[in-house]
Symmetry: C2
């Protein structure tokens, strides 16, 4: 089964693997959108240990949100990723995994809150923005890079952006920043495999030789895992996953599924299964993430999942016909 | 987003559609594997009406199983598809949908139980077999075709068959029968998109101009819908689905997801959503189909789902680490 990117002497094949593929687990960051990042330390430590033992390359522990905008009473520590909280997760041993935090354009006091790299356990700052925020994102990427971090651009809601605007945005970012990874982000869970392939190929042209392309998929239409595989085939090397798919609404590409697919022997699924068994089945009783038909409807209609999330949290989540009719209005 | 098959003057694209695509809903047949086909008449009628209103092309109402092998006390009417039972479903109006039943090689007394077409409401007999049963399948296909039915070959457990054996089997069937459709059947839910594409292309070479290729996917690794789309792109025209994914173990490609994807305006998803809302959420409390990690493990290991089904029906379905360790033994 040929892959489209060559590496070394051999064509990619499903019996070989591409060493440049890196997995980023964002369970705490994306899953925290379901509970205002109020995970307790024991849970975050368990996920951290599972990711380390599983051979995951990066773990994202939360957001660097501005405390002037978000109350520390309302939001848990993983909304802010203070150094003391991060160090409580990793303990005294040097992490065998790279750590990242996400910084949203307009919601991060980055000049103050993103510390120089030598004062932080973080390795990577991921800058998330919408298309109209590209100039601000460029400033944030340059700020983080100058402080010593790896950086990524996570351009959200791609499915609402015209191709010409997207090309302009990508050109601006690669010309004006040292960004390391350009992410294809399917915020609405609305993209089909052919679209994923076309986006990854477009992003690869702007990434050039020295940057990677990443994929962040959502499971609104049961396509998060399939679209992640499709992105791999098209050449994406940075893959976002969450344990048991924990994430906003329908959730994300499950870490355990991707690790069973990837052939690099450094990846081990068993530590992730242990973590799921011990923590996630219980968690599912209080946080209702995962695929449901209202998410499929917003995904198929290329709409933000907020209406589906509100419907699922309401009194009549099973009234799917009324939800469908409303979404078509 | 180009499709790989041309039709008429235009290349396929996701803004156009391929009129030759036909959807087959096998909710009652595949879902019946979860309850010995003991659905009550009201439920089967509701699914039938939903499929008719949704523009689905074929509906499969069950198996033509041999009553010498399966007790009518233990199994419900959709295991046998007697004419009287079928007619109770469709009522007095001529069906706006074609009807099929599945006949398993070795489990059907086909010379006796498959009636001449003019005595039956069925339009299509789907012959399911494993690779070693191809000679018997050829006999059954010819029997059904001579009685006036459309026929399909549903070759199960493809992922365990070598390519040379598969080529021999396909050549034998197309040379020696008038079969209308050759189905790619992912019985174990173990196939990835590239494998689906390669199988569909191989099957298309044997199908030639006058036969179609079909896809029957399972959702063990959350890939049933994605693999069905992949099969469409590769040229498959006959697509198996079930309402809300109801089917053995992890279930199937959901009818509602596929109908939201297909662009032919004859397809309507709303009747399917109505049927789900009225019947399926309730049914899910008594029949536990759908994606769970044990199914993903058997799928990833290319194993029959029987061990996962037994585990999910046992006392400790959440003991996924023990299940994983056992499957690796």
């Amino acid at each position: 089964m040929p892959r489209e990117r060559k590496e070394g002497m051999h064509r990619d094949s499903w019996v070989t693997y591409r060493p440049s593929i890196k997995v980023l687990d964002c369970t705490i960051r994306d899953g925290g959108l379901m509970n205002n990042h109020r995970f307790d330390l024991d849970f975050v430590r368990a996920c951290y240990r599972a990711c380390c033992a599983a051979g995951v390359d990066y773990m994202e522990l939360g957001y660097k949100a501005d405390k002037a905008l978000y109350s520390v009473n309302e939001y848990g520590p993983w909304k802010f990723c203070d150094e003391d909280d991060l160090r409580r997760v990793i303990g005294d041993e040097p992490p065998p995994i790279k750590l990242s935090a996400m910084a949203d354009v307009g919601r991060t006091d980055y000049r103050r809150d993103i510390l120089p790299k030598e004062q932080s356990v973080l390795d990577c700052i991921r800058v998330a923005c919408y298309i109209h925020q590209i100039p601000a994102a460029i400033d944030m990427i340059n700020d983080a890079a100058s402080k010593g971090y790896e950086t990524t651009l996570n351009l959200m809601a791609l499915s609402t952006v015209s191709e010409s605007e997207l090309r302009t945005a990508l050109a601006e970012v690669v010309e004006n920043t040292p960004v390391n990874v350009l992410y294809v982000v399917d915020s609405f869970g609305s993209l089909y495999s052919e679209q994923i392939r076309d986006y990854v190929k477009l992003f690869l042209r702007y990434a050039g030789e020295n940057r990677d392309v990443g994929i962040h998929a959502h499971n609104n239409m049961q396509l998060a895992y399939a679209n992640t595989i499709e992105a791999i085939i098209a050449g994406a090397n940075r893959l976002d996953v969450t344990i048991h798919g924990l994430g906003r609404g329908a959730g994300n590409c499950p870490t355990e599924l991707l690790l069973m697919f990837l052939k690099n022997p450094k990846f081990k699924v068993r530590p992730v299964l242990e973590c799921i068994e011990r923590y996630f089945f219980e968690l599912q009783r209080s946080i209702p993430w995962g695929y449901s038909i209202p998410y499929a409807i917003t995904g198929a209609l290329n709409q933000h999942p907020r209406d589906a999330i509100a419907w699922m949290e309401g009194d009549r989540p099973n009234a799917i016909v009324e939800f469908y009719d409303r979404m078509l209005e």
